[in-house]
C-alpha cells in the first residue's frame, strides 16, 4: 500500500525531471498527461478508510480531465501552431536538471520541517508535491513557448493536488472540484490565446510579446 503511493510519487518526481530536461513539446504533453493519470489513483490509496466514493470520484474526475481532455486540447494547439520543440529556453536543459536536483533536495529539507495537522499517507507526499509545484513555476518562468507555460501551469496544479492529499480526509469534494473547474477554464482560455497569438504573430514565443507596441500611424 505504502509502496504503491511511494512509487506514484517517485514517478511524479521523475516526470518532473523529464519535463525539466526535455525539449520536445509533444513528449512534455504526454508526460504531464501521465502525471495526471497516475495522480488519479492517489486519492483512493491515500484514504485510510479504504475506498470512499468521493475520493474515487475526485481521482476519476481529475484523471479524466488531466489525462485526456487537457492533452487533446494542447495537442490541438500544438498542431495549429506548428511548434515542435522549445528552441532556445532561457535556462538550458542541463542546468535546468541540476537546478531541479537542488530544488528537490530543498523540498525534501523543507518537507521534513513542515508541521502537518495530520500524519501524511507517505513521507514523500509533501516533498514530491512541493517539488512539482516548483517545477511548474520554473517551467513558466524559464521557457519561451506559450504551450510550455501552460504545461507548467498544469504541472503546478498536479503539485497542489498532491499536497491536497495530505488533507484528503478533511477536504470537501466541492473545493477540489472547484479547483479542477478553474484549471479547466484556464487551460481552455490559454489554448485559445495560444492559437490567437500564433495567428497574429506566426510564433508563440511569449518573450517577444514584451516588444509589443503600436506601429507608427
Amino acid at each position: 500500500m505504502n509502496n504503491a503511493i511511494d512509487s506514484i510519487l517517485i514517478f511524479l518526481v521523475l516526470t518532473d525531471l523529464i519535463l525539466l530536461g526535455s525539449s520536445r513539446l509533444k513528449n512534455a504533453i504526454r508526460f504531464v498527461a501521465l502525471q495526471g493519470l497516475a495522480l488519479g489513483l492517489l486519492p483512493m490509496l491515500a484514504h485510510s478508510q479504504g475506498v470512499v466514493w468521493h475520493a474515487v470520484l475526485l481521482g476519476a474526475g481529475s484523471a479524466l480531465l488531466k489525462g485526456f481532455v487537457f492533452p487533446s486540447l494542447m495537442n490541438r494547439a500544438l498542431r495549429e501552431t506548428n511548434a515542435n520543440r522549445e528552441i532556445e529556453p532561457f535556462v538550458g536543459y542541463i542546468s535546468s536538471l541540476l537546478i531541479g536536483v537542488g530544488v528537490l533536495a530543498l523540498s525534501f529539507w523543507s518537507g521534513a520541517r513542515l508541521s502537518l495537522p495530520w500524519e501524511a499517507a507517505s513521507l514523500l507526499l509533501v516533498p514530491a508535491g512541493l517539488f512539482t509545484v516548483w517545477t511548474g513555476l520554473f517551467l513558466i518562468v524559464a521557457r519561451r513557448k506559450a504551450i510550455t507555460q501552460v504545461l507548467g501551469y498544469i504541472a503546478m496544479e498536479n503539485g497542489i493536488f498532491t499536497l491536497g492529499m495530505v488533507l484528503v480526509e478533511a477536504m470537501p469534494l466541492l473545493v477540489e472540484l472547484g479547483v479542477l473547474l478553474d484549471i479547466f477554464v484556464a487551460v481552455f482560455v490559454m489554448g485559445i490565446i495560444v492559437f490567437h497569438i500564433n495567428r497574429e504573430f506566426d510564433h508563440i514565443d511569449s518573450d517577444q510579446l514584451a516588444a509589443l507596441k503600436e506601429g507608427p500611424p
Binding site: D6, I10, F108
Partner: protein, 303 residues
Amino acid sequence: MNTASMLHPLLALLLAPLLPGVINRTKAFFAGRRGPPLLQTYFDLWKLFRKGAVYSRTTTWIFRAGPIVNFACLLAALMVLPLGRVAAPLSFAGDLVLLAYLLGLGRFFTVAAALDTGSSFEGMGASREVQFAVFAEPALLVGLAALARHAQALSLTPIYAGLSSASWSVSFPMLALLGMGLFILFLSENCRIPVDDPNTHLELTMIHEVMVLDHGSVDFGFVQWGSSLKLWILGALWTGLMPPGATGRPLLDLAAGVAWMLVLAVATGIAESIMARVRLLRVPQLLVGAGVLCALGLLLTFR
C-alpha cells in the same frame, strides 16, 4: 571468506570475455543475423597474445604502462568486489571508495597513454572520455553512497550481502531508482550504445575505441580483456541489487550471480538493438539523468 569468494575473481577473469560475445549474439539475433561466435573475444585474445609488439618512437613508457596499469587496477578492483551474495576476498570499511578510485586510476592511465601518442585523433577521444567521466563518477559515488546508507555499512560485501527479495518489497522505489541509474552508468562507462557505439570506427562517434588505436598485440589484448573485465565489474554492482537473497550455499550464490551477469549481457544487447546512440551533446544530459536517479535513491534513504 570461503571457496566461492576465492573462486569469484578467477571466474571473473575467465568468464568476462564471454560477456561481449553474449551481447553481440543478442544484437545479431535482433538484426536477424547469425553473428560472431560466442567465444570470439577469446579467439581475439589468443591471437593478440601471440603477436610481437611494435612501438612508435614518439611514445614513452607512459604509452606502454597504460594498458598494464589499467588491467592491474581492474584486477585490484576485483579483489574488493562481491558478486551478489558472494563475499569479496577482501573487505574493509571504505572499500567502495577504493573501487571508484581504482576505476578512476585505470581511466587516467588509459587517457594518459592516448595523449602520449601525440595523435590529435586520440587526444579527441581522451577529451571525450574525461568529459563524460566528470558526470559519470559523481553519479557512481552517489549511487554507492545510497547503498551504503541503506545497508548502514561502508564496505561492499556487507552492503550487497544484506540485500534480498525482502529488501525489494520493503524499499522497492529506492532499489528500482538505483537499478536504473546504475544500468545507465554501466552502459556509459563501458562505452555501450546510448553513449558510444562499439561497432563503428567513425570519428564522430568514437570514445573508447579511439583512445586505443595505437596499441597493438599483447597491449591490445590487455586492453580488450580489461574492457571485458570492466563490463564484469560494473555489471556486478548492478546484478548485486537483484534478488534472491543469500541461500546459505556459497556455490549456489555464485551460480546465481553468474546467471544474473548473463541476463545483464542479454539486456544490454536488447537495449543496444532497440535504442539509437544519443547525440554527443546530449550524453552529459543522460549522465546527469543517471546521477539524478542515484541522488533520488539517496534522498529516499534519509527518511
